[in-house]
Symmetry: C5
Subunit: 358 residues, 5 copies
Amino acid sequence: MDLIKRRRSKPGTAPGTLHHTSDDALTPLRLSVIDYRNNEFEEYDNLTIEQAQPYFASPRNTWLHVQGHPGPDELRSIGDAYGLHPLAVEDVINAGQRTKIEDYPQQKFIVLRHPVLHDDVLDTEQVSIFLGHNFVVSFHGGSKDIFAPIRYRLRKNPEGRLRSLECDYLLYALIDLIVDSSFPVLETIGEQLEDLEDEVLKDPKRSVLDKIHLMKRELVLLRRAQWPQREMLNTLLRDEHKFVKESTKIYLRDCYDHTIQVMDLIDNYREMSSGLLEVYLSSLSNRMNDIMKVLTVIATIFIPLSFLAGVYGMNFDSTASKWNMPELGWPFGYAMFWLLAIGIAGGMLFIFRRKGWF
Amino acid sequence: MDLIKRRRSKPGTAPGTLHHTSDDALTPLRLSVIDYRNNEFEEYDNLTIEQAQPYFASPRNTWLHVQGHPGPDELRSIGDAYGLHPLAVEDVINAGQRTKIEDYPQQKFIVLRHPVLHDDVLDTEQVSIFLGHNFVVSFHGGSKDIFAPIRYRLRKNPEGRLRSLECDYLLYALIDLIVDSSFPVLETIGEQLEDLEDEVLKDPKRSVLDKIHLMKRELVLLRRAQWPQREMLNTLLRDEHKFVKESTKIYLRDCYDHTIQVMDLIDNYREMSSGLLEVYLSSLSNRMNDIMKVLTVIATIFIPLSFLAGVYGMNFDSTASKWNMPELGWPFGYAMFWLLAIGIAGGMLFIFRRKGWF
Amino acid sequence: MDLIKRRRSKPGTAPGTLHHTSDDALTPLRLSVIDYRNNEFEEYDNLTIEQAQPYFASPRNTWLHVQGHPGPDELRSIGDAYGLHPLAVEDVINAGQRTKIEDYPQQKFIVLRHPVLHDDVLDTEQVSIFLGHNFVVSFHGGSKDIFAPIRYRLRKNPEGRLRSLECDYLLYALIDLIVDSSFPVLETIGEQLEDLEDEVLKDPKRSVLDKIHLMKRELVLLRRAQWPQREMLNTLLRDEHKFVKESTKIYLRDCYDHTIQVMDLIDNYREMSSGLLEVYLSSLSNRMNDIMKVLTVIATIFIPLSFLAGVYGMNFDSTASKWNMPELGWPFGYAMFWLLAIGIAGGMLFIFRRKGWF
Amino acid sequence: MDLIKRRRSKPGTAPGTLHHTSDDALTPLRLSVIDYRNNEFEEYDNLTIEQAQPYFASPRNTWLHVQGHPGPDELRSIGDAYGLHPLAVEDVINAGQRTKIEDYPQQKFIVLRHPVLHDDVLDTEQVSIFLGHNFVVSFHGGSKDIFAPIRYRLRKNPEGRLRSLECDYLLYALIDLIVDSSFPVLETIGEQLEDLEDEVLKDPKRSVLDKIHLMKRELVLLRRAQWPQREMLNTLLRDEHKFVKESTKIYLRDCYDHTIQVMDLIDNYREMSSGLLEVYLSSLSNRMNDIMKVLTVIATIFIPLSFLAGVYGMNFDSTASKWNMPELGWPFGYAMFWLLAIGIAGGMLFIFRRKGWF
Amino acid sequence: MDLIKRRRSKPGTAPGTLHHTSDDALTPLRLSVIDYRNNEFEEYDNLTIEQAQPYFASPRNTWLHVQGHPGPDELRSIGDAYGLHPLAVEDVINAGQRTKIEDYPQQKFIVLRHPVLHDDVLDTEQVSIFLGHNFVVSFHGGSKDIFAPIRYRLRKNPEGRLRSLECDYLLYALIDLIVDSSFPVLETIGEQLEDLEDEVLKDPKRSVLDKIHLMKRELVLLRRAQWPQREMLNTLLRDEHKFVKESTKIYLRDCYDHTIQVMDLIDNYREMSSGLLEVYLSSLSNRMNDIMKVLTVIATIFIPLSFLAGVYGMNFDSTASKWNMPELGWPFGYAMFWLLAIGIAGGMLFIFRRKGWF
């Protein structure tokens, strides 16, 4: 759970210091640049930092995307090349940031958490985006190229809004993709929940408990990762920025609406998993009850009978006196014993049935 | 539970793209138009999209109602014909929207959830309404014609407020009907709750637990579907819209009051069902207690007696020494055994009764 | 619980339609009018609607009180006579309203819930009050004349504030009476709670659970009925009404203070009843524990002893070999058996006592 | 618990009516007056109401303190003498008021709850304070003279802030003393909690449950009594009163800080006592578990052995056929029985140990 | 837990009185002064109060750090020397303050709680900081020199922001260090939680319960200590102070972001430890279930068998009548007994397995 583990430099270090956190292997970076305006469109992949730099000065809209975990030196080069604020750049390398938006004089800095499922275990990857006047710089630490659909739309649709509008609409498209990527993840979780529900109702084993426990933890983490999206979008919508145009706001508002739906779904799932836990625990109690009933019925029927059999197994000397166990000598003594035994058992069964025990 | 399942197009798709979500069978659409102002009243049913279009331009108030799940193409035609905003139209086709209100330059867009009971299982259907300057376009995906009472009032009462006032009052009438349709549903749920309560208090079976669990889930879903109504009505009431007249607001305020009553009822039911769960669980504990008492009383009485019987069933050789089981040879040994046994049993019963165990 | 049952007309009916809800028997109405100003005072009882009407036009303060459930026709007559708003009048007949205040151009409309105890079961009756410029119209559906003390003060004290001040002070007096009438009810509930607490601590039977459950439900309902009083009084206090004078506000503020005390008491009682449930459940667990201890002590002592007795009741042929049950032939075999048995029992008792089991 | 019991006059009584609530015995009043300004200082004790009155008109600061429960007549005299508002005076006699502040044209009226421990049981006594332009009137119903330290500081320190500043600083000193008097009470409660914690962890008896229950109730009551202090001080701090000078506000802010610390401690204690309940309940479960384990180990070992002994105690006639219990005649039959028995017991113990049951 | 224990002077004492709270041993103070501006830098350690005083008047930025618990007299000297407000100085000596910020005319006073782990037990130490126009006075009661990294950065980096900016940036650096020092503590707690989780899932012993209980208490205390940091930083950020420059605010905002991350982690841990408790309790129930199953299976199989053996151990006289226990004389009686016994046992096992009991 990366929200918990990854931490920053030692307390007391100067702010903006870039340290490499050892548990992220340094993956090779992959820089791609798209330089576009209306009909003009240039796309370059696998650039070096030096190759990427000239596009910053281009009068067209420039989108630099950095895939992989950059090291402190690489990040400093990129930051210097594009004039990114050191405090924000520090947050790019410390990959355990919450979703947030920060205002710097020359740019906006946005952190998002992209939820992914690795073998049915939820993880969130950090996506950091800088929005300048005519450029967007985005960082994504994971190995999958999540922004491929956006790049495809930019490349293929020269008359689309992505090409005709400014960088703020590109920012919206990136945010919208991250927000919407919660839905498939939530669908998978929803299916897991339904499977769990079936298991709980049919055959509540010990392992179900651990699964519910894990599910609840995942939902707590997901909620915490998604919750600040609303605030972030609200900040984007409410403030009068020179960065975000009025025409883009209607789309951001739609995106805000999606974050509310995501939170809604998560809350539904949380209440459902709490409900599952309740049901699991009470079916445990039910089982215990059933087991106790069987034990009690069997024991309370046979314990008196065993006593009776024990009585007639005693060795009192019937020759010493006629009061000593005369029943043993009766011709129908054994038959009477069985009658008595069956009578007791029948009576008890009758009482237990009336009490509704079985 | 349609709040959870139906989802929209793939992350990264351009906003406003209309996709058909496969799990809704394409039902034949039924378009009906009512064109009215004071004494003028025209009503057409089973129109095609082309036939419905001219009424848009009519200077009178026009209400177009679309019954059924429209496909992307049909929806695009309707949207284009009436100038509906693409983002809003996208929400019509993705039927898992929350209750909300959205402001577009040319119209207001309102989504409502209409609660229905299918075989005692709660479902909510989406109703989408567009309010323009002199038209209302409403979409309802279900098969039942829920707005028949409104149409009846329009048709039959030429002097009624519905005819004499503008489109905003028609909008109020539609919203009011959806809000009030929660009451019969809640009444049914209330009756189910009372039945459940009887069952829990009289004969708490395992199946009751599942029913309470389902009831709680339904109430959670209903609450989530109804909760945003307050906010939606508040937005309608507070903002100065050119769409909603001051004279209609007094009625909307009454409608707002109803939504509070709905939430109140739902909260009451939720607390009642939580209470039921508590009562169920503690009557389980009570039962376990009763069962344990019976087992304990029977076992603790007969276990010592069985031991005693066992003792006198031992085969120590009384001829080897006079210390070996002399009781067996006593003339009243057997009688004394019974006296002892009855004494032990009586004493234990006395103790248990004093402890209040039965 | 009348907060849950009574419901209004069918969804889709025109607002302001008056329907008779069948479960309220039509009780004969009793109209009384008090017409007063300073030294002038006229009081009439058992008027017809026609007889009551002229006082509306009187320049003095007029208080019309309607006792009983009016039918739709009667209500419409009264509403028309006094110029009451149709939407408000609809709320008078649908007796399941929440406490609220509504502003109409010609009057204020206030709904209050008057708590009563019928055979120790809590109920709330609706009191509806209209405040006009120089009149108050109040409706109360119950059979008891709750406003008798106010009428007495009006009648007997010509120099009292009630006579010398305007209608807004009369409104305050009516509200204050309803708010304060919660205190005796709460006192009764408090006494019931203390009885319950005694029962739980001394002898926790099954029936206690149902009583606590009912108590919690009553408190939830009472809370919901009283909660909106604060908001209602706040609205009266904050808004600049032409209806409520500044001099009356100091009294309304005192009344507001009382509603806070009522909520405080209810919250105390709720936490107490939750605490009782906890105590009940844990004393159940305690009991189970005690029962298990007794069973375990008796069973674990006698089960090994019974085995021992069983062993010496076996019939191995001691003539076949000297290894077969030689103990049976020992002169002190029986005595040694008892020594062994008492030793085992004593040892177990010692262990159990050291574990603190009894 | 006096927050619950004491109640005011009957619903419908005129506001400001003074009734004597019967359960407070009329204790003899003790009026003391301190009349001071800078170096001038006069102190009188045990005055009658008439004797106290002239100091009201004194141009110096006057502090009248009334110790004991005044009757309605006495209170009316004092109220009339000092011009106190009837509604506020009514709250003095009804000693179950919440902490609050009220603004009257000629004075401020403040109610505080002074927490005391009577034999380790928490109670709160009402302290009512009126602040006028150059006087303070304080009422305290308890028997202990809680304001002695203030009087001492006034008397002994002619250059202290108490003497040199105005009445608002005296008010601050009184409030500060009441607020701070929570700390020793909370310390005692804290010690009780630690004792309870020791008891729960070492030897969880039934009585602990009742103690935790009482502790939680006390903390709920204390919280409710202290909670409104923050609001009260905030009102004093925020509003521009002519009564409270800017120079005093810095001290009131310090006092506000203390109330936050009090709430913090109470919340800590509440969470601790909830934690204790959890621990108590789960150690009950643990115990039950232990008891069940012992019972199960003993029973499951000896029940099969007893069966075995029972088998060889059967009386099948071995002379009738060589198939009837030939074991009884084997020379090592008895030895083999013991081997078998020990083997079974050992095997079971081995299994139970591997399951970790003891 | 020092949030609970340490308390201030007796209620009724004059504000600003300095008392020594006896449980803090008077440790020898260690005063160090750093006097700096850009390239000028002087550092003195182990000064007396008199020696430290002259630097107050220096036109450069002066940082006086006081390590250890000062006594009332020492504190008064320092307070007088630097013109610190008596109410704030009182809070320095009473070391149980919450995190807070206070505005005094000549300075700002900030209290922070520095979390430390002593042998895996969480404690928080108080750090008090005064910010004047060109000085910072900081107090830290613990024995470790926590500000060493700041001093190192001041000493070694003459061009760093710490040297070139004013005292407000030094204040930021101190606050940032305290805030960030939560992270290593939280990491340790996180590791403890993971160990606990392993223990709970693998082998839930009684001791785990106490550990979870302690963990929850620590997290409650830590939360309470950290919670007010947000408010404190917000106050610093929002108000227009002459003390904090605009350029420093961007760093304080970054620091504010860290406090949110701290709260996030704490909340995660709290939910995780609550989850652990749930899992612990339900695995207890699971165990009880398993134990009951074993007992029930063994007992219900052997109890009927024992009865059967008891029956054939009875001594009915088969010579008295041919109806008395004829089975004993059958040639295959014993074999039939075993067949019957094995049949019963097998049947029961079959039933239990079908019920899924083992």
